[in-house]
């Protein structure tokens, strides 16, 4: 199997130093540090700062910024650029995210590495353009049509916005899949200290191209890790790729047998590698009566509630989902028989919560602390929920 190679970031791309940056600006710098050289996007509050910063920074590092006519064009342009061998990203929010869904599916089907930052806002529809929400999480999972698996990361701070954007690029190159960075308006617009390290401290996954000569190469013969090697465009490979269900040759084949093979591998590519992808941070799980799950900004908002509950002697554990998708099913299932309750706190009316409920499978109580969005949770509500959960 062709090994995964890592390379240090290019010092010209990395704005090393300590700054006060908001999450959006940090995300943009993360993309730059990861070696992104193509951005196609469409302005949408609250993500626009990412586009604006990139439009300022790119000419200095040899990148191309293009503001496309709509989000569908943006999604497709980053796919095209990625096939052209250039790391590419886009950014959007709820309404634009919906528009990008069809062609995100194309990215899944063609197995194209790229990064999509969704700075979530209140929805549905036009909703609350300038206020946070976390209500696109299920859409990240199922927004496009058909069966597929996704990778979605949720940063909780500008520092993490920087780091997770780099991580998203690495995951996308590693697994040949478009990766979501699901921030929200709160993280996006909050200004905090961001430390951008030296380039030698940033490791980047190198895209794996085929080493076979053109006559022997077919686009979708997977390596042992179920990820096929990409062909370089313009080097005589003369390959064909399509959004239609295809076989290992990349040619469309319209029958159930090939559908099974094609879709199964696309899903297994993530499911079978889930252990390497899933990233959760646990705290005080040992002996916990109740475990509180959260992601993104909410994981910071719940801290006062947890502290208050702990003061009263309640043993509260925490799981912060850094990767929301793939969801850590195994861990949640495993813990369900050891604890009294899961408390899921998210800035929506219940999305990732249903995953928790499904995995708990009745072995423990599951409590949702919902929020319509527009502002972060009141820690008091979280505290009340924790108390309810241990009753």
């Amino acid at each position: 199997m062709t090994e995964i190679k890592m390379v240090k970031a290019n010092p010209q791309d990395v704005l090393t130093g300590e700054y006060y940056l908001d999450g959006n600006h940090a995300s943009a710098e993360g993309g730059l540090a990861a070696g992104c050289k193509f951005f196609a996007g469409y302005p949408i509050t609250p993500s626009t700062e990412i586009a604006e910063r990139i439009s300022q920074r790119f000419p200095k590092v040899g990148g191309i910024f293009i503001q496309m006519e709509d989000e569908m064009a943006s999604m497709n342009a980053i796919l095209g650029a990625s096939w052209g061998g250039v790391k590419s990203m886009t950014c959007t929010s709820g309404p634009g995210f919906s528009l990008m869904m069809e062609n995100f599916g194309l990215g899944i089907m063609l197995e194209t590495p790229c990064v999509l930052v969704n700075v979530q806002r209140g929805g549905p529809s036009t909703g609350l353009p300038t206020l946070p929400g976390q209500a696109d999480m299920m859409q990240a999972r199922w927004g496009s049509h058909g069966d597929y698996e996704v990778i979605a990361l949720a940063p909780d701070s500008p520092q993490e916005s920087f780091e997770l954007t780099i991580h998203a690029f690495n995951l996308s190159e590693r697994y040949r899949i478009p990766v979501f960075v699901m921030t929200d308006e709160c993280v996006g617009h909050m200004t905090e200290k961001v430390v951008i390290p030296g380039a030698e401290e940033i490791d980047l996954v190198v895209r794996r191209y085929t080493d076979k000569p053109p006559e022997e190469y077919w686009p979708y013969i997977p390596e042992k890790d179920l990820v096929p090697l990409m062909p370089p465009v313009g080097k005589g490979y003369k390959f064909h790729v399509t959004g239609l269900t295809h076989d290992y040759r990349g040619y469309p084949v319209i029958n159930a047998e090939v559908q099974e093979k094609c879709v199964r591998r696309l899903m297994d590519k993530i499911i079978k590698n889930a252990k390497d992808i899933i990233w959760i941070e646990e705290k005080d799980i040992e002996g916990a009566e109740v475990v509180l799950l959260s992601y993104g900004i909410t994981s910071r908002v719940v801290q006062p509630a947890i502290a208050k509950a702990k003061k009263e002697g309640i043993k509260v554990g925490q799981i912060r989902l850094v990767t929301v998708w793939p969801f850590p099913e195994e861990r949640v299932r495993e813990l369900a028989s050891k604890i009294g309750a899961y408390v899921m706190v998210e800035m929506n009316y219940g999305q990732v919560y249903y995953e928790v409920e499904r995995c708990a499978a009745g072995k423990c109580k599951t409590v949702l602390v919902p929020h319509a969005g527009g502002t972060v949770h009141n820690p008091e509500d979280v505290y009340v929920a924790i108390k309810e959960a241990v009753k």
Binding site: F38, M68, N76, A77, G84, N103, L106, K238
Partner: protein, 298 residues
């Protein structure tokens, strides 16, 4: 003429078609109906590439969904069969990432002009250096013959069973007014002129657009009782008027009326990357490294 070498011909030796080097022979015969004009357009495209004597590795074909969209699957080039209407933005990304490649969008009228209409006009406006070949058979063929934005008034289609009551687009006008630097229209019958138009369009710097009026036998011709593709070709023979430099505003196509063909627009205009480079140079001076000049690493 094809570049088949003349070896001693002893009787009828089974030779391969001269264009087979540009076709994925493991997928031939293709899916298009007998008397469909798309095959002819594909042949003209292959001939144009041959004529240009360019490195076939340096050409990429991007297509959308539809009968014409299948062309990408048959051409032996780096080819991408993308989603409906989105061939052009995909090609924009690809063309920017690989500025030295010839990126050709080869798709149908419904795909490029209806769902892809927004991308079409904006990419023409930006004058991105790609070539767009639109095979116009006046109908959504692949899905069974629905009315398209190019369907002439009064034509019968499966979703306009009593006749089409919508004015169609005039594609050369749309392209020209959006800023395309090369606009031509030929029918599938005018193969040699079509080949030359393709060759010129591919060589042209900037957004070049070639419309190919092609017969759709199974749907457009049959539903409108026009015979088959051959009857439509005969119609093109008798009703095409060649008018180079015609005003794009005057080349509308009515139902079974005269078709004006020719090269309508051939101008020079800085491309998207030209403007970008010039703009950044103006601001950053010599510190700015011009994009697209050196060979890209992959």
């Amino acid at each position: 003429m094809s570049t088949v070498e003349i070896v001693e011909v002893r009787g009828k030796v089974e030779k391969e078609h001269p264009m087979e080097k540009l076709l994925r022979m493991d997928r031939i015969p293709h899916i298009w109906c007998p008397t469909c004009g798309i095959g002819t357009a594909a042949k003209a495209f292959a001939s144009a590439l041959e004529q240009l004597e360019i490195d076939f590795s340096n050409v990429a074909v991007v297509s959308g969904i539809g009968c014409t969209g299948r062309v990408a699957g048959y051409m032996k080039l780096d080819s991408f069969h993308t989603t409906h209407g989105r061939a052009i933005p995909f090609a924009v990304g690809l063309a920017i990432a690989k500025p030295k490649m010839k990126v050709v969008v080869f798709s149908g009228d419904g795909d490029l002009i209806s769902i892809g209409g927004n991308h079409f006009i904006h990419t023409a406006r930006r004058n991105v250096d790609i070539t767009v070949i639109c095979v116009n058979n006046f109908i959504y063929a692949m899905t069974g013959g629905q009315v398209a934005p190019t369907t002439p008034l009064l034509a019968n289609c499966s979703t306009s069973p009593y006749g089409n009551f919508e004015h169609p687009f005039n594609l050369p006008l749309l392209a020209a007014s959006s800023g395309a630097v090369y606009v031509a229209r030929w029918t599938a019958l005018h193969v040699r002129r079509l080949t030359n138009a393709f060759a010129e369009a591919i060589q042209k710097r900037g957004f070049s657009f070639v419309e190919v009026i092609a017969p759709c036998s199974t749907l457009y011709a049959r539903r409108n009782k026009l015979g088959d593709g051959l009857s439509l070709m005969k119609f093109y023979h008798d009703n095409s008027i060649i008018k180079h430099g015609a005003d794009p505003r005057e080349v509308d196509i009515g139902f079974q009326e005269k078709i004006v063909v020719g090269k309508f627009v051939d101008i020079e205009k800085p491309t998207y990357l030209d403007c970008l480079n010039e703009g950044y140079k103006r601001v950053f001076g010599d510190a700015y490294k011009v994009y697209g000049e050196e060979d890209e690493q992959n």
